[in-house]
Each structure stands twice: as C-alpha cells, then as structure tokens.
Amino acid sequence: MWSLFHKLGSPPWLYAISGAILRWLLPITLIALAVGLVWGLLFTPADFRQGNSYRIIYIHVPAAVVALAGYYIMAVAGAVNLIWRMKMADVAMKAAAPIGAAFTFLALFTGAVWGKPTWGAWWVWDARVTSMLILLFLYLGVMALYEAFDNKEAAGKACAVLSLVGMVNIPIIYKSVDWWYSLHQPASIKLTGESTIDSSMLYPLLLMIMVFYALFTCCLLLNMRAELLQRESRTQWVKRLAAEEGVV
C-alpha cells in the first residue's frame, strides 16, 4: 500500500504507467463511443411522448454525470494536495478542471438543444440548469485562478480551497429536481427500485455513461502527462525522453 503511494508520487513512474494504460484504454473507449453513438442515434426506439429529440439523452446524461464526477475528482485531488502536500495530486487537480468544464459545457449545450423542441425554450432559469451553470463557472474559476498566480504552489492551494468550497454546489445539483418545482425531469435510472426507463433505452444509456467515464479518464491521463513533462522539464528523465521522442 505504502509502496503504491510512494510510486504515485514519482513522476517517471506515473508517466510510464499512464502511457501503458492509455495504449489499450483509448482505442477501446473510441470503439465503444462509436458503438454507443450509432446505437443511440439509429437503433433505439423513439420516445412515445418526446419523439426523436430524446436521443440527445445519450449525450446529455453521460456528459452531466461525468461533469459531476469530475468535480469530485478535482476537489478530492485538491484536498490531498492541501493535506499531504502531494505534488501529483496538484497535477491531477489542474488536469481535471478543463475536462470537467468541457463536459459541463456539453451537458448545458445538449440540454439547450433538447429544451427547444421539448420545453419550447433554449434556456430556462431552472434550478437544475442554473446550478449546472454555476458548476461550469466553478471549473472556469479554478482554471483562471491557477493562471493568476506566478507561484504554482500558492496557485494549487488557492484552487484546492476554491474547489472544496464549490463542493456545496454538488448536492444542490443532485437534489435540485426534488427541492424545487422544476421543468427538468427527475432521475430515470435508480440504484434502488425500478428504473423508469425501458431496457431498450437503458442499455445504450448505461454504455454511454461508461464510455464517458472512460473518456474522462483518458483525458485526465493525457492532461496529466503533458503537465508532468512541463513541470519536470529540467529533470534527466524528461530530457532523455525529449532526446528520444522529441525529434521531428
């Protein structure tokens, strides 16, 4: 256990292991993504009330799920950095922010495109939608705050505090459809009790949620690898790597 902890703090080890993971995870993820997209677009039945517009669910829900999960990862990494001063946790936190922002944007955008034919409006100041917009601003805030500091150690701490304070927003997003009268429908997939979605629609949705988790993992590792090289650019192992791979 401790040896793993020790290894996780070693940049060359992290760089090598993430490269090995990406070599098989990335191709599998892309194939599964293609399968999921075609399945959701062409092979699932239309919704009896919403018609074909509901097909957006196969992007909207996975993007939103991963946008929230990404925030946990960012905040937990920030906390680990604050408490144990683990440099790699800081790398993970910085790497998670832009991906989380991208997926939150995607959830909001697909929500707007879905809202137009379903609710009759691109945008409503509904509790769920507004709290997701706040999530986007939190991600962008962390990214901007990081760049605002010259001292990267101070930047990491400030961003960790901001992301931890922003955790308040997460249960609000989850519960927004129950606490407030909302246009947004409540969750259709339930861990306990019967899901209110037919299996012909549920399976492709579950596949897409898994694909988006895998995509997030891939992007996180890719971002961390770039960040590691940047931070370690004065060390021998990075110089050796540059001499081997950096030749055009």
Binding site: N52, I56, P117, L222, A226, R234, K239, G246
Partner: protein, 68 residues
C-alpha cells in the same frame, strides 16, 4: 433492427433532426478537442525540449554538455 426506414428519415427524424444532429456533432467536436489538445501539448513540449538540448550540445561543442 434500425428504427428508421430511409436515409431521409434518419436526417429529419420527424422534425427533430436538426436538434439531435446538432447535439451529436457538437459532442463529437468537444470530445475531439479534449483528446487532441493535451496530446499536441505533450508533443510540443517534447519537441521544444529536444530543440533546446540540441542547441545546448552545439553551443558547448566537444566540451561537456551543459544542462541548459
């Protein structure tokens, strides 16, 4: 079984085609960006470093290679 019976039906989706296709295209675009951007950044850093190392080697000539 495919739900639609013609290419035209796939494109229009009974009036919802514009919305559905827009959402899917933007999703593919966003996913492409978040995958490609860090890959290019990593390559750029390595190339930049390789260039610096080469210049350092040239500058120092036959003497010992300086760090940078």
């Amino acid at each position: 079984m495919m739900y639609f019976d013609s290419f035209h039906a796939v494109m229009t989706m009974e009036g919802h085609g514009v919305y559905v296709w827009t959402a899917y295209m933007v999703a593919i675009g966003v996913i492409a960006i978040v995958l490609i951007a860090p890959t290019r950044r990593r390559k750029r850093i390595l190339q930049q470093l390789a260039g610096e190392l080469r210049r350092a080697q040239h500058a120092s000539g036959s003497s010992a290679v300086k760090g940078r």
